[in-house]
């Protein structure tokens, strides 16, 4: 640049060019941000805040500290080597009286029940009789329920007074805290979540593998046909993609159930006996077949867009150099398609581990995913903290795969349809 310090380049109205350019860029930046800001604001309120609220809920622990505030205060400085003194019992009676009047002991009793089974009925039974109690409260409470005479109960109240808790996350991986603060496994019959996480992962891996196995030949065919034909066949791939998820799940129920189309055909042509119909639905098979069908287009489309860019002359060159067909495919074509395999594979896997509807409808007991347990804790057991913790763990896994995907392919390269 031939820019001399004595006479910097200026625009027509005398502003140095650099300054003017910087202004223009800044204006254009502000304009771009202003255009994006309404959407950004909307998503932050309607989507990001709910997600953070959920993350907060998975560690939030307000029940004991708000409902039993006096008891917690009275327990301050208590060492836990013997039962607390009368003031703590009196404070508990006062807390329960207030809670009983306001009718808000439900959350508290559930919360303590997660940590120590039996606490729900202990609190409810005590609360019902708390107004009629006479001092000394210590004996009166123990008289109602022996649980108040256990040091562990009081230790639990003292521990759960903390504003944050890890116990939902521990429960999500089938662990719990003992009164001494040690992390131990829950009893065998309560162990479910870890096994479900693993099942979700391995079944998703199987589904991803199957979609690759079925999608690869189709993508290869589509990318090697003349455009006229491939456009027509592409419709066959896009039609399921555009069809309602529930419709596709319903058709698999109609096909796979024991009185369904496939079993009827098999009985009619004599492959199986009428009484020995295959059980193909409401189990793992049902989930795997239906989800492979549903996710197959998500594998074919990225594979196709990669294969489309491979010049056919590469294979011809390899053949002309004397390579046998399989060798040429393995050494030349296949390595070139790996970006497509990675993109499709990660996409299908991410979608699969988060699926809820299909496993819930065709999975039965054995084909259920961890997502079904999020719904269970949300709707049936009403342990929302645990639901939030499981969802947060799943979210974490999905985000890791998403970052890998973004790094490898770039999310703005995602094509639709």
């Amino acid at each position: 640049m031939s820019e001399s310090p004595s006479s910097p380049l200026t625009t027509a109205d005398g502003v140095p060019l650099k300054v003017s350019l910087r202004r223009a860029v800044r204006r254009s930046k502000i304009k771009a941000l202003l255009l994006v800001s309404p959407l950004l604001l909307f998503l932050i309120i309607a989507f990001v805040m709910p997600i953070f609220d959920m993350l907060w809920r998975s560690v939030d622990n307000p029940e004991v500290s708000t409902n039993l505030s006096r008891t917690v205060e009275a327990l301050e400085g208590w060492e836990g080597d013997a039962l607390p003194g009368e003031p703590a019992f009196a404070a508990l009676v006062e807390d329960l009286q207030e809670g009983q009047q306001a009718r808000n002991l439900g959350l508290l009793s559930s919360r303590l029940n997660y940590e120590k089974s039996g606490m729900r009925s202990t609190i409810n039974r005590t609360a019902r009789r708390v107004n009629a109690l006479e001092p000394p409260y210590r004996d009166a409470l123990i008289d109602i329920n022996d649980t108040w005479g256990e040091i562990d109960t009081w230790k639990l109240i003292q521990r759960e007074a903390a504003p944050l808790t890890m116990s939902y996350y521990l429960a999500a991986i089938d662990r719990q805290l003992t009164v001494d603060g040690e992390i131990v496994k829950v009893p065998d019959h309560l162990e479910i979540h870890v096994a479900l996480f693993w099942r979700t992962f391995w079944m998703s891996a199987v589904i991803t593998g199957l979609t690759l196995l079925l999608g690869y030949p189709i993508a290869f065919l589509l990318s090697n046909l003349p455009l006229r034909h491939s456009n027509l066949l592409m419709i066959l791939v896009l039609l399921p993609f555009w069809t309602s998820l529930l419709v596709r799940t319903t058709t698999w129920i109609a096909i796979l159930q024991s009185q369904g189309v496939l079993n009827d055909v098999m009985v009619a042509i004599g492959v199986i006996a009428d009484e020995a119909r295959w059980q193909m639905i409401h189990n793992k098979t049902g989930t795997i077949v239906a989800m492979t069908h549903i996710l197959l287009p998500f594998m074919i489309l990225p594979l196709y867009s990669v294969m489309k860019t491979i010049p056919p002359s590469y294979m011809r060159a390899a053949r002309s150099l004397g390579g046998r067909p399989f060798l040429c495919f393995r050494r030349i074509y296949f390595p070139l398609t790996i970006p497509g395999i990675a993109a499709g594979g990660i996409l299908v896997f991410i979608l699969s581990i988060g699926y809820y509807i299909t496993p819930a409808l065709v999975g039965g007991q054995s084909g259920r995913f961890i997502t079904n347990y999020i719904a269970y804790h949300m709707q049936t057991s009403l342990n929302w903290g645990l639901a939030a913790a499981i969802a947060s763990i799943l979210l974490f896994v999905v985000i890791i795969f998403y970052l890998v995907f973004n790094r490898l392919i770039g999310v703005d390269k995602v094509k639709l349809g």
């Binding site: 039609l239 399921p240 009185q259």
Partner: protein, 283 residues
């Protein structure tokens, strides 16, 4: 995929075997969707072909499940809800998404990668997690079990599709066209309506279609945050499949398959129109 002239006998055989395998996979893809169409005309309340249907006896077929659908207030109400929620959330998502896409495609957009990742995130986060999160949050602010709540939730879910399709259209938009229009004497308004809008519209419309179908087909979020008043079609189907499984569902499914065929045709036409306008393909 013509067979090259130098192919050996084995390769020729493999070629036909390969085509056979592909045909089977296509059957796996489309077959299930086609099977339900005849099943929905079943005169019997079963999910399978009856003897009479197989012998093509007209008695085996009937329109009773369609009749049941069109006379059931629950289903009609569900359709109405689906359209109200779908259309409202599509409009919101399309307007917000298109404006944002204009900003995102500016060369001077700061932090584009991060913002794009955020705008796409509702598509990546599993629906059950979004649903749980929205349930917790919306119940706090009294939006749960209201139309507004469901519409806002579906808008959030539809936004990534609008942003992706519209930014893709804008990135292939040739800005010299605007300058050309100006140099030919068109004022900015005329340029916008005569040059910019016709080129961008196909992208906006296909984004809107994606947003609509996302809302129209969405079960999980509605399941969590909607009340009995906001029952949509997918919810009606969901409970139909879980509780009393009746072929009415197959009739609904058939109509939805036809709807998706319609959508697909529209999208394909839009794509071709866009290409033609941009001069990518002759005629």
């Amino acid at each position: 995929m013509a067979i090259p002239s130098y192919a050996t006998r084995g390769e020729r055989i493999w070629h036909y075997v390969f085509l056979g395998i592909c045909a089977l996979i296509f059957l796996f893809l489309v077959g299930p969707l086609l099977i339900i169409i005849p099943l929905s005309f079943n005169a019997q309340p079963y999910f399978t072909f009856s003897q009479k249907m197989l012998t093509l006896d007209p008695d085996g077929y009937s329109l009773r499940w369609y009749q049941e659908f069109f006379t059931s207030s629950a289903w009609l109400n569900a359709i109405k809800n689906s359209f109200i929620i779908g259309i409202a959330s599509t409009i919101l998502a399309t307007v917000l998404g298109t404006i944002a896409a204009l900003g995102l495609s500016s060369r001077n957009m700061p932090a584009r990668g991060a913002i794009m990742a955020l705008l796409i995130s509702p598509m990546i986060v599993p629906l059950i997690i979004s649903a749980a999160a929205m349930f917790f949050f919306f119940s706090k602010v009294n939006l749960a079990q209201t139309y507004l709540g469901v519409i806002l939730a579906h808008t959030a879910l539809g936004i990534p599709f609008v942003v992706i399709t519209v930014t893709a259209t804008l990135s292939s938009f040739d800005t010299t066209l605007i300058r050309a229009a100006h140099s030919l004497g068109a004022n900015p308004t005329r340029t916008f309506f005569k040059v910019v809008l016709p080129l961008v519209t196909p992208g906006v419309v296909s984004g809107a279609l994606f947003a609509f179908i996302t809302s129209f087909d969405e079960v999980v979020v509605v399941l969590f945050i909607a009340g009995p008043e906001q029952r949509t079609m997918p919810i009606q189907m969901w409970s139909g499949i879980r509780e009393q499984i009746s072929p009415t569902i197959l009739a609904v499914a058939t109509m939805l398959v036809l709807l998706s065929m319609l959508m697909l045709t529209t999208l394909e036409m839009l794509r071709r129109r866009g290409e033609r306008l941009r001069g990518l393909t002759p005629g």
